[in-house]
């Protein structure tokens, strides 16, 4: 019992465990009803898009656009999923994206070129996350309040920095990344970043001690503490992670828009929370799914795109989004009570 060596696989049991099955069987075993139903919804949306606007919707450029738009909010949602899984909430993500994007695009920062912009965006995001995390983990503040305060002050600071003006990016290295020339096999670099963040997020949540601690803290913080987990430090790290994701998202947004604005990331907090919740992450903590969150983001972005292509106004979009959130949660409640 005191050895570090992993036990021999062959004689541990007769029942095959998931880890011993081929990869695809393992994936199938992990794909629960919820994930499959989300995939179903996404496929249905793609069909609707393909039927109503066959030429525009299925056009490569449009699909690239949908994925690019999903990338910015998607990265934020990955961070949010961790925070919610731990039983917390981060209302400040949109404001942090705004602050990071304007801080990274000031004239002074732009003088340091590509690296300066990237570095500043990430550091500002992490810095805001650090403040959130310290207030919540060590200051004993409720996450809702601490991040609400950050929401207000980060937005305010962003306005102060820009004075309400759009800061145009002149660094060509940044602007080039938004051009078609830099697409890799037809995939925009932003989408590649999103994919990498998603895969890393999935691995961290499901395969590392960090992920396990996150789930344990969200499932039962007192039990986690009595099991010897440093609950406060874990909470701090989680808000740092969320801040880092906001910094990455801000960088993507700078590439996408070629500018920094204090109105960037407006209502991202609501979109990210909504995507995580319809994906199947429990708002009360203890269960989180990166796959579900990403599907949630793709569903929302696809709806927006289809509505835009069909010339429906954004008010209709908003109503549809609300209806989807309610429907998804009701369906989840039903499946949860029957299983």
């Amino acid at each position: 019992m005191t050895q570090h060596a992993s036990p021999p696989r062959d004689n541990t049991d007769k029942v095959p465990s998931v880890g011993q099955l081929p990869v695809w069987r393992g994936l199938l075993a992990h794909a629960d009803v919820r994930t499959l139903s989300l995939l179903g919804v996404l496929v249905a949306l793609i069909l609707i898009g393909g039927i109503t606007k066959p030429d525009e919707f299925l056009d490569t450029r449009n699909l690239q656009l949908v994925l690019t738009q999903a990338s910015v909010i998607g990265v934020v949602t990955v961070g949010m999923t961790f925070v919610i899984t731990s039983g917390g909430i981060d209302l400040s993500v949109g404001a942090i994206v705004a602050l990071s994007s304007v801080w990274a695009t000031t004239v002074a920062t732009q003088e340091y070129g590509f690296a300066g912009i990237l570095f500043t965006a990430l550091i500002v995001g992490i810095g805001c996350g650090l403040v959130n995390g310290l207030l919540i983990a060590y200051g004993g503040m409720v996450p809702f309040i601490a991040t609400l305060a950050m929401l207000a002050s980060a937005r305010g600071l962003a306005l102060q920095i820009t004075d309400g003006k759009t800061q145009i990016v002149t660094v060509t290295g940044i602007l080039d990344l938004g051009e078609r020339d830099s697409y890799v096999l037809g995939i925009p670099p932003l989408v590649i970043v999103f994919a990498v963040v998603t895969v890393l997020g999935w691995l961290i949540l499901n395969r590392t001690t960090f992920g396990r601690r996150t789930v344990a803290v969200g499932g039962n913080a007192e039990a986690a503490r009595l099991a010897g987990i440093d609950v406060r430090r874990q909470r701090l790290y989680l808000y740092l992670l969320s801040g880092l994701c906001c910094g990455i998202a801000a960088f993507l947004l700078i590439i996408l828009s070629g500018s920094g604005q204090n109105t960037n990331g407006n209502l991202y907090e609501l979109d990210a929370i909504a995507a995580a919740i319809i994906g199947g992450t429990l708002l009360s903590g203890g269960r989180g799914t990166i796959t579900g969150s990403v599907l949630g983001v793709l569903i929302f972005t696809t709806i927006t795109n289809i509505f835009a292509l069909n010339n429906l106004q954004s008010d209709v979009q908003q109503i549809a989004k609300g209806a989807i959130i309610v429907a998804a949660v009701l369906v989840q409640r039903r499946t949860a009570s029957t299983t």
Binding site: R9, R212, G219, L226, G286
Partner: protein, 505 residues
């Protein structure tokens, strides 16, 4: 006591929650005008029973008769309409509302159907408070500004503001000082004189002697004695009913040699103000030391303080001679301590997770490299640990919530076994564990000790402590009053020590 149909008659009440049977066929008869006392340890089913009575829980089976007629209590409002009022231990008052507003909450006197008549409410509240002997409480004050004792009075005024026939009081004296307890008893006397029945819950046997008419004792979700005369039943008999066993258990044999060697756990003059007085304690490898005492004697507090979950006000804990950082669970765990807490679900288990993850949570670094978990190794280790304790089912992938209480407890033990812990702190290890599964758990605990673990065991069940432990410390109101080898003690002796101070007849 009227011989015809009693005011309230509950029979065969059962109530199950996932993994535990809280009530297992409880009968309770209450006559108009009597004080009926409910006795039982924590977890005996008292709270569940009064919640059924208050309409907060619907029973799975069983009948409730009110004046001889069968009724169903679907909601708290239904219970209130019959005239059943409940004063909970954790008072359910709204701190930011005034006394009068709290008293009339949900049935405010109104004009035109919705305008609250504040003057009327205040006046009637004033009358109620006067009747309760506390005219000095201002009905207009906020409840949050009142003392605990006054809140209790307000809670009672609220109960009396309905046309009440039966009042349930859950540990009403816990927050009161002696003067106030006298006043409480006077109120109870007045109420019963008016024909109101009182169901009185308390751990203090002296109180039950003073005001009780009859006693029903609950244990493990069953009424082990119903309607005993409160004044004449010997204390020892009552306590034996509360703590004793209905079934004789087979306890594992103690090793012939006994434990020797240097103590692995040493507690020196450890104290926490208001909870327990300074005491010393040593546990050697292979030894099981038991702490016996009633609820409120400071047992759980002592374990949690040793474990670092509470910060001591004085004294120190040493493991292998090294002083532990006080108030740090992580330091305790690193030094080799493991706790199986009293409230398993709230304090130990991750209910949404599998057995494997519940077992591995304290030793994740064991099968991870740079933070990456080797899930094969994790699962193998969890399987080995749970097999060693014969946990059923023999499949650590199942969700922990599907396990019985005894197997959930084994999962907690497996967690510490896997961690390689050297001192096991067990707080009520058989709480919520089926009668049949207990003997097996005892055998497991003894085997762990035989393999060299030091075990510190807390239990309210005297036979459990005497049967399992090698040495016993008896606690009474936060003080260690006796310490002796278990062989030299018997149940009666321990009960006398536990009860010392109250008249043992």
């Amino acid at each position: 006591m009227a011989p015809e149909s009693p005011l309230l008659s509950m029979s065969g009440i059962t109530k199950s929650f996932p993994g535990v049977r809280a009530l297992d066929g409880v009968d309770l008869d209450v006559q108009a005008g009597e004080v009926h006392c409910l006795l039982g340890q924590n977890g005996a089913g008292k709270s569940t029973l009064i919640k059924v009575l208050a309409g907060a829980h619907e029973p799975d089976t069983g009948t409730i008769r009110w004046h001889g007629e069968e009724v169903t209590l679907r909601s708290p409002i239904a219970a209130m309409r019959l005239g059943i009022a409940t004063i909970y231990q954790e008072l359910d008052l709204v701190e930011h509302l005034s006394v009068a507003e709290n008293v009339h909450l949900g049935h405010e006197p109104t004009a035109a159907g919705f305008v609250v008549r504040r003057k009327t409410a205040r006046a009637s509240t004033g009358l109620l408070l006067k009747r309760l002997g506390h005219p000095e409480i201002d009905p207009a004050r906020l409840v949050g500004e009142l003392s605990a004792a006054h809140r209790q009075i307000v809670s009672m005024a609220r109960a009396l503001s309905h046309d009440v026939r039966l009042i349930v009081m859950d540990e009403p004296s816990a927050a009161l000082d002696p003067d106030e307890v006298d006043n409480l008893f006077r109120i109870v006397g007045d109420l019963t004189a008016e024909g109101v029945a009182v169901v009185y819950i308390s751990h203090r046997l002296e109180e039950i002697r003073r005001i009780g008419d009859r006693v029903t004792v609950l244990k493990d979700g069953r009424a082990v004695a119903g309607g005993l005369p409160a004044k004449s039943t010997p204390t020892r008999e009552v306590v034996a009913l509360m703590t004793g066993r209905n079934v004789e258990y087979i306890f594992p044999e103690r090793p012939a040699s006994g434990a020797n060697g240097a103590p692995v756990l040493e507690v020196q003059r450890l104290a926490r103000e208001g909870e327990f007085a300074p005491f010393d304690l040593e546990v050697r490898p292979g030894e099981i030391v038991g702490l016996a005492g009633l609820v409120g004697s400071g047992r759980s507090e002592i374990l949690e303080t040793i474990y670092g979950a509470r910060k001591p006000s004085a004294g120190q804990v040493r493991v292998d001679g090294r002083v532990l950082r006080p108030g740090s669970v992580r330091a305790a765990v690193r030094a080799g301590l493991g706790l199986a807490p009293e409230e398993r679900k709230a304090q130990a288990l991750l209910m949404l997770e599998s057995v494997t993850r519940n077992v591995s949570v304290s030793s994740m670094s064991r099968f991870s490299h740079g933070g990456w978990i080797d899930r094969g190794a994790e699962k193998g280790a969890a399987r080995a640990a749970t097999r060693e304790l014969s946990l059923r089912p023999d499949n650590p992938s199942v969700p922990i919530r599907t396990l019985s209480g005894g197997n959930q407890q084994k999962a907690v033990l497996a967690r510490w076994l896997l961690r390689g812990c050297r001192v096991l702190l067990l707080d009520e290890p058989t709480r919520g564990v089926d009668v049949g599964a207990r003997a097996e758990l005892y055998a497991v605990i003894r085997r762990l000790a035989d393999e060299g673990l030091a075990v510190l065991l807390v239990s309210s069940e005297v036979p459990e402590v005497l049967g399992l432990a090698d040495r016993v410390l008896v606690l009474r109101e936060g003080r260690v009053v006796h310490s002796a080898p278990a062989r030299e003690l018997d149940e009666h002796r321990v009960l006398d020590l536990v009860m010392e101070g109250s008249p043992a007849s």
